[in-house]
Symmetry: C2
Subunit: 307 residues, 2 copies
């Protein structure tokens, strides 16, 4: 059931740069993605931390075209393509497959709450059927604190049975290791890839068969996260994990997306990176200063970021 | 601050008909809207009960064009135009204004949870500024059980101050009369129109200065709801309200949107009306039978629906 070469490792839900007029800045985006790849981190563009749901489908198609058109390897890409509206999910998913993306990270439709698994099954099934491409690899996106619509064991079981090729794995951003472990235990042997949604669970995940992690802070601390993924069986793995946790904990004191962008703005020397789209709000100057001060005190840097 | 002729009364978040292939059926939609207008109910198309967030922006533009192109009066329309992504909200709002719609019902961006009022203010402000049309009338949509992003008193105060012409009112679907009353008390004297989100609060609302109601069950029980709105000062108002509540309570035993569609399918004699888009699931045959049986026992009918 497993392909020989599935995407794995540390992936970044790449933050999306905006110009002052709030339009997406494809040039900055390509540069950032190129840097992340150079740090051995894959591109889970259009994730929660990408403000993907604040972008129109047209904007996402355009950004993805620019990435692939700039020579970045689609085999290292897992764009988020799940929307509330079926035609939107179908359109972006089909486009990602056409461009050769390794997989897509798919939110369930997230407006209606308390919907039955039968309805979620039909949602994913419709996308898979309508895209109708044997190359499609779907990673289900479980992020109950935000989407408020969970991916359950029963749903994955049904999808694996109906679409064994397409149902490739999941990202678990629930923050509960027992849930991640339950999915690994239930489906890991079938080649179903589980990505914890933060590097906090990277070492524990690797020891239990996870495929890597997809983490907000892989935007800012990519090389260290990728290194633990590559060397998790080494003697210093626990020390590496502790260091990752130390940096993550600093970011976690602030609103995550504005904090990621503030750090990139600081270390890239490009203040425009701090811009977010409403309903998010950029860090105030004092907050950004406090973040940078704490990171500097922890001897954090972003090597090679200054383009 | 109040326009001489704002939209008011009983409005229906019109359910959206789908063909068997799940595409929106504009012909059925136009017929249904025409029937609702004939029952003296206005058209809050693209609401929660319309499965609006399961439709692409293109589909909504097309349906709205068909309504207005069919001669239905845009002065009786308040389409839902709030999306997660700013460009989507701007596009559909601008289109609604261009077509002459009386107002738009605007969800806040609803993917990110716990966002500050500052971010929500900027979201609405960006839409108002970018649409840039003096005719725009925004009705803010407070539906915390679904959107999970509330409209607060402080947010309305800021919007009224910055955009007194455009900030026309709100729909309160929170189901808490004290909240509805708080908005009426705070802003009613400025001409800010408050629509309770169910006819359950219609009489109480009218007695406290509400503008009418926007209710799921106005899809199926329109004339009776419109009649109470028109005659709420009459001697039989409490009796009318009790009768509305009796019918509403039957629908409330079932998943609301599938139940509305099942009732329309039954009384229109058009079984295709039962179709919903995933992630919703149509009522099972036995459920639909139970709904109809209970409604018939309550002597409920839908006069004039059979097209």
């Amino acid at each position: 059931m497993t392909d020989t070469l599935r995407i794995s490792g540390a992936l970044s839900p790449v933050v999306t740069p905006f110009r002052a007029d709030l339009s997406p800045d494809a040039d900055r985006f390509v540069r950032q993605c190129r840097w992340l790849l150079s740090q051995d981190v894959g591109l889970a563009v259009f994730g929660t931390n990408s403000e993907a749901n604040s972008l129109s489908v047209d904007e996402k198609v355009e950004l993805l075209d620019r990435l692939v058109g700039s020579g970045l390897d689609p085999a290292r890409m897992m764009p988020g393509t799940g929307h509330c509206a079926l035609p939107d999910s179908v359109r972006l998913t089909a486009h990602a497959v056409k461009l050769g993306c390794a997989g897509v990270l798919m939110l369930p439709p997230f407006y209606y709450k308390g919907v039955p698994d039968e309805g979620l099954f039909r949602s994913f099934a419709e996308v898979i059927e309508r895209v109708g491409d044997a190359r499609l690899r779907v990673y289900l996106y479980h992020i109950p604190p935000v989407a408020q619509v969970p991916i359950t064991l029963g749903l994955v079981e049904r999808l694996l049975k109906a679409y064994p090729q397409q149902t490739a794995g999941m990202k678990d951003s629930g923050g509960d290791w027992r849930n991640t472990q339950a999915f690994l235990d239930a489906f890991g042997r079938d080649g179903f890839q589980v990505f914890p949604g933060a590097e906090t669970f990277l070492l524990q995940g690797m020891r239990h068969g996870a495929a890597g992690c997809i983490s907000a802070t892989a935007n800012v601390n990519p090389a260290a996260i990728a290194r633990l993924h590559a060397t998790w069986q080494g003697a210093d793995a626990d020390r590496q994990q502790a260091r990752l946790d130390e940096i993550r904990a600093i970011f976690a004191k602030f609103p995550m997306i504005p904090a990621l962008k503030a750090a990139i703005a600081h270390w890239s020397g490009d203040p425009g990176w701090a811009t977010v789209r409403p309903p998010l709000v950029a860090l105030a100057r004092e907050q950004a200063g406090a973040l940078v001060a704490q990171l500097e005190q922890a001897k954090f840097t972003m090597p090679g970021l200054r383009h």
